[in-house]
Every structure is written in structure tokens, then in C-alpha cells.
Symmetry: C3
Subunit: 268 residues, 3 copies
């Protein structure tokens, strides 16, 4: 059985390794796939999008995700099953739902309340170790979802609000969803938005960011551009993104997660 | 059989991956749990505390740890067994002992001196690969501790000195043990020290760091505070720590590993 | 079967985890060893050297490496077999050849062109996920190299040019190949070059870098030097390197990958 594991814990501390140890102590044969632990601390939306983007490439199993700034407070600890039978474990703060929605939505939800499937002593600040990892490992062993705690109405789960773009002909007001290691800038846009705005591969566009204006071209891949040229392209998760061949588009545009970006068709 | 693995190697180079390859070449079925490789380069005390804190959450097995600024010099390469039968491999610089002490102390110690359980050629600068990883893998295969080399008197092992706090009523002079990714500041204090000083949840305290003074409150968890408020709380390893809800306490206080921090009860 | 995995993807995004998921979905029993994902973005030479240095320590298997700034363009996707039977998967940009050369050179090469061994939809920007990971996993399952695509003449593969040193008695003009996490500076030199220049352990040398001059001594290991002293030593991969005991030689010398470094025997 596979357990995929995504957090904002980073790798410089032992948080991730400790959770691995807890899971392996309970389910020694489970295979753990570290999806990423590089989500920005407290970046619930970033984690939710990464999980939703990556999950179609993961074998089915238990999907453990912990980005949990509200740990120890009123937010509920959850386990879910989606319509295709994948299982999820994490906090009730919206983190898990965009992924589950890709597989038909949440079919069943429970609150993690059964102490038989948690560590003996549950701290107030590290539910990843004490509550979520044990629950994921027990699910991987075959424990039934309903045994982990009382059911919750899927409609009552906390949902994130995704920023929506404004699209009109030749003009799009977009938001930066994230920046990857290569400095590529993911936007809250898909190819359909470009179609609406009349942008096709080869179209020259102008980007406005923090008062600066930049020429770019709609392109298919990095190698369609010369080093230093800005391109707007459909990334490998089918979101639109801005890149600069052999450089960082994020640094060039001065944008960060949440920044606004204006895209206009360049009409000479 | 499990091998847990902690180092200061970081992950940008291939040091960790190379050690994995060496271990898997010897013991293909061993499961390696990366505890962390983010210990500060040469941070023996930091590594020792991380190992001691995490080990109670690890399945028993071989615990390999390498933070080894004295590699190639006079410090001895070790394998140990604690009173509960867990095995340890690493340098004789104090790194392993706080962890072994949590499991009854060192029962047996040997110096890694048998070339049958090292790589054929042992470099002077990478014992992690050439000496420690092979020893850990052979132990995981069932090789006996005594076969790795001659015994050492456990009393003769190098020990670290941990900084001790000064505690008096309403006043504690503490030292920062470490900073985690979230900017939380771990102190060389436990709840017993707070009891001695008369600090309980809800007590207002004043922190003095680098000449600056900050108000804080003794609290149970992050969500007891408003964003921006400093709290002092018992962290998930049962050390006292300073945090700021949705921010970095380390950045706010300007502290680093080893910094002094004064805590005084705020008497109006 | 083992798959070793080296990239410039970093670990803050989900790129590496997604590739793991793709491989595990195809070959659940394959063991993946993460060699490193910390290669500088687009650092083909750095990745090629890391792979060549580490591979002798890896169990034989499939060696997947992706440093691929030309993704989506004209560069071909490859699978190779070396003279000793190890298998390689990655882009045709020189990344794989220094490693294969350590094992007798490339015996067979094919272009990855058979869609049966790729994901159903191949993006233009993430061949690591869509093309290379599936090919590696299928090879690990026992698929034959020839089934992946048409053969390529090994002589026609793209090769990197390694910077060559200039060596004369008492004088070496070297190039920095890379900097590791500890700030150690690897040079394009082996002990043979030092022999040619008449440098032996104990020889005093002078290093010239960016206009600055520094005294150093040829030494065997870090512990031969006092804290702060520069040493030139044979590193654990049998390259010559510059280190400073308990410090960063790279920071002291102000060098980076590709920087020139002059070494002269210090004649009083």
C-alpha cells in the first residue's frame, strides 16, 4: 500500500523523518512517497494546488497532507474517501478538497477522534506526528475509515476560495498561484481563458507587473524562445505560466505568490 | 530491518544519496528512514538533540548519525548498543550519547576497525560513505557488534556538555538550543523549570534578547495567541520554546542557536 | 531492481515526488535511490560529474538523470546501456556519458520513441515525468532497451567538454568544478597533476583567485590543518579540492563553479 506525503515541514528539521518513523512503526510494509515538503510555511492554498496537480500521477492509496497553521485549535482533524476510493488524511482547512474534487469529490468524511489510532500522547503542536501519521498508517494497514471517528457531512468541510481571473477580449487580469524552483510563474489561468481573450501560440502580449511592462510571446515550450525572452505557455499541469528561457521569470517580473499580473494583447 | 539516518550533509550534493547506495548495495532489503540531513554543518550538539528527540518515534533498528567535523583525525569511529538493544553508528564526538541515554545508556561500544565491514578503500574525508554506512548496513544484516572491532569502555566515550539554565523565582536565564523552519525557538528548559520559576499557562512574561525587551504569554499552543503575539509553550518534544503565531519568533527576537534569552515574570 | 535518480528539480516543488509516483505506479517493487536533486538549475556539467562520481557506489540498475534545459526542443530523449550492463535514461545533452564512460562506455543507445513506454499524454515541458520516469520504470521491470525506440550510433551522442587544466612545474591553472555544502572547492585536477607540478603533502602553495592571494598547504585531511587554514587535498572522489578547516573555502576565495584558480608552489 502506498502513502503519499505532502507538508510544509521542510527538510532541515526532523519533522518529516519523525513522521516516517511513526508510519513505519505502525505499517512497516507501507511505501511512502514524499510528494513534497517544500510548501511555504502555512501555505494552505499552495499545498492544496500541489496536491491536486500531483495526485493524478500517484498510485491510489492514502494521501497524507499537513499544512496546518491552526494546529491545536478548533480546526478538525480529518480522514476522507473520494468517489474513486482514494483516502486522504489531514486538517479540515481546505487543503485536501481540490485534490478530492479531481476524483469525483468527497464521498465520506470522518473526524479523527478514536485514540486507538493516534499516538498515546497527542501534543498540541505536532498533529502531523501524533494524529495524522498514525491515522494514515492504520488506513494503509486496512483499518476502515469509519473506525477512525464519527462521520462529518462532506458539505460542512472547510473550502478554500481560489482567486478568479477577469477575462475580456485582449485583456486578462490574473493572479500568481505559485513560483517553482526554476522561477516559472504559474497563473490562475487555463488555455480556455486564453482562447476567450483571443490569445494563440505566436500572439505577442504585454505583461504588467508592479508598474513595469514586459513584452512576451505565447509559446509552446521553453525552446521556442531565445535566452532572456519571456514566454507564456501551458505548463505541464495545464495551467498557464510565464517563463524566461534559461532564467527566472519570477525575478524578472518581481512577482510572488498572490501577486496580480495583467496580460494584454499587444496591438501595434 | 530499519536504518535511520541523520547527518549534516544537506541534500544539494550527492553525499546522502551515495550513502544510500552503499547501504543498499550491502543490505538491499534494509529500509532507510532519513531522519534529517539538515543539521547545521558541524553542528554536533544540534544533531545530538535532534537524534535524541526523534528516536523514541523510530522503530528499533540501526541508528546511523554522521556530524563529523573531525573526520580523518584522531576521533574514533563507533558502533554502540544501548540497554534496550538499539544499535548506533557514528563518530566518537558525543553525537550518539544523548539518544542512547534515552534508552538506558550505552551497554556496549566498539571501535569500527574491522576492514571486512568497511569499503575496500577508506578515504580520509568521507567516513560516512566508506566506514559508517557499510557498518550500519552490515549490522542491519545481522552482523554482531563485537565483529566490527575491539570493545571500548562506555565510560571513555566523548560526551557533550549541554548548556544549563539558571532558574530563580520569576527569573530564568536560558539558552537557545535551536531554531526550526517555522522560526520557533527551542530553549534548554522543560516545564519543571517553569514550575520552579512560578510560570503557568496564562502568566505574562518579558523576554530580553540582544538588548530588546518583548512581552509574551505562557500558552498551550499557537492558536491560543493572535497573529503577531509571542507565546512561550511546551513544544512537541517537551522542551519549552518561543513562537509567534503566523510568524518567526527567531527573526523577531534576533536569536540563533546558542543565543542567551532572559525570561522574567511580568509584575505590574 | 534499483533506480537511481538525479535531477536539478530541487525539493521545494513536487517535481521529484511526482516522478516517484509515476515510477511506483509502473514498477511498485522498484527501489528508488535519490542520488541528489540539488544540481544547479540547468547545470548539465555539474550533474554529469556528480553522476559519474557517485555511480561506482551505487548498486547496478537503471540510472535516471534529468538536467534538461532543452526540454521540448530538438534534443533527443535517450536510454543507454554501458559495457557492464548498467542502464541509463535521460536527455541527449552529455549528462549521462561521463558516468557511462566509467563503466566501459556506451554499448547501446536508443531514442525514446515508443509511446507504449511513456505516459499517455507527453507535455512539452516535463519529460522527466512523462517520458524519462516511465522509461526508467519499464526498464526496471525488464523491458528490453531495444523496445524503447530506434537505435542511435553511440558516436553520435552529444558530449560535454570538460575544462582542462594547464600544468607546468610549480604552476597550475585550474578551474573550479563545483562547491559542496561545506564550501569545499572541487578542482579539475587529480593527484597526477600535483605530481607533475611537484606538489606533495606538506608543500606550501599560493592560490590566486579574483586578484587575491592566499597561502595554503597540501594536506591529507581537514584535521591536518588549524581552524581557518586553507588546505589543498585529494577529496573522497579523488579530485583535488580546496578546503578550510571549519569554514567555507568557497566564501574565503570568492569562487563559484567555473571560476579560474591559480596554484603556485611557494618558493621562499
Amino acid at each position: 500500500m502506498f502513502i503519499t506525503f505532502l507538508t510544509d515541514f521542510g527538510l532541515q528539521d526532523d519533522f518529516v523523518g519523525t513522521c516516517h518513523g511513526v508510519m513505519k512503526g505502525i505499517a512497516p510494509e507501507a511505501q511512502i512517497i514524499d510528494l513534497t515538503h517544500g510548501v511555504r510555511p502555512g501555505g494552505i492554498l499552495q499545498g492544496a494546488l500541489a496536491l491536486a496537480n500531483a495526485l493524478p500521477y500517484m498510485p491510489a492509496g492514502v494521501h497524507l497532507a499537513v499544512v496546518d497553521p491552526g494546529v491545536g485549535g478548533a480546526r478538525r482533524p480529518l480522514a476522507l474517501r473520494d468517489a474513486e476510493g482514494r483516502l486522504y488524511v489531514g486538517p479540515d482547512n481546505g487543503l485536501l478538497l481540490p485534490a478530492a474534487d479531481r476524483f469525483g469529490g468527497v464521498a465520506d468524511a470522518v473526524e479523527l477522534a478514536n485514540p486507538a489510532y493516534a499516538l498515546q500522547s497527542v501534543s498540541r503542536t505536532f498533529h502531523g506526528r501524533d494524529l495524522f501519521s498514525p491515522a494514515a498508517a492504520h488506513l494503509a494497514l486496512g483499518v476502515k475509515l469509519a473506525d477512525l471517528g464519527p462521520p462529518i457531512d462532506p458539505e460542512a468541510l472547510v473550502r478554500l476560495e481560489l482567486p478568479q481571473p477577469e477575462v475580456s477580449p485582449a485583456h486578462i487580469a490574473a493572479t500568481v498561484l505559485g513560483i517553482d524552483r526554476f522561477g516559472n510563474v504559474a497563473l490562475n489561468l487555463t488555455r480556455e481563458h486564453f482562447d476567450q481573450a483571443g490569445i494563440v501560440p505566436g500572439t505577442q502580449v504585454e505583461l504588467t507587473s508592479r508598474g513595469g511592462r514586459y513584452f512576451a510571446v505565447a509559446a509552446r515550450t521553453f525552446s521556442d524562445a531565445r535566452p532572456g525572452d519571456l514566454i507564456v505557455y501551458e505548463d505541464s499541469y495545464r495551467n498557464l505560466a510565464v517563463a524566461v528561457a534559461q532564467g527566472s521569470a519570477a525575478a524578472l517580473l518581481g512577482v510572488d505568490e498572490g501577486s496580480p499580473l495583467l496580460i494584454e494583447v499587444d496591438t501595434p
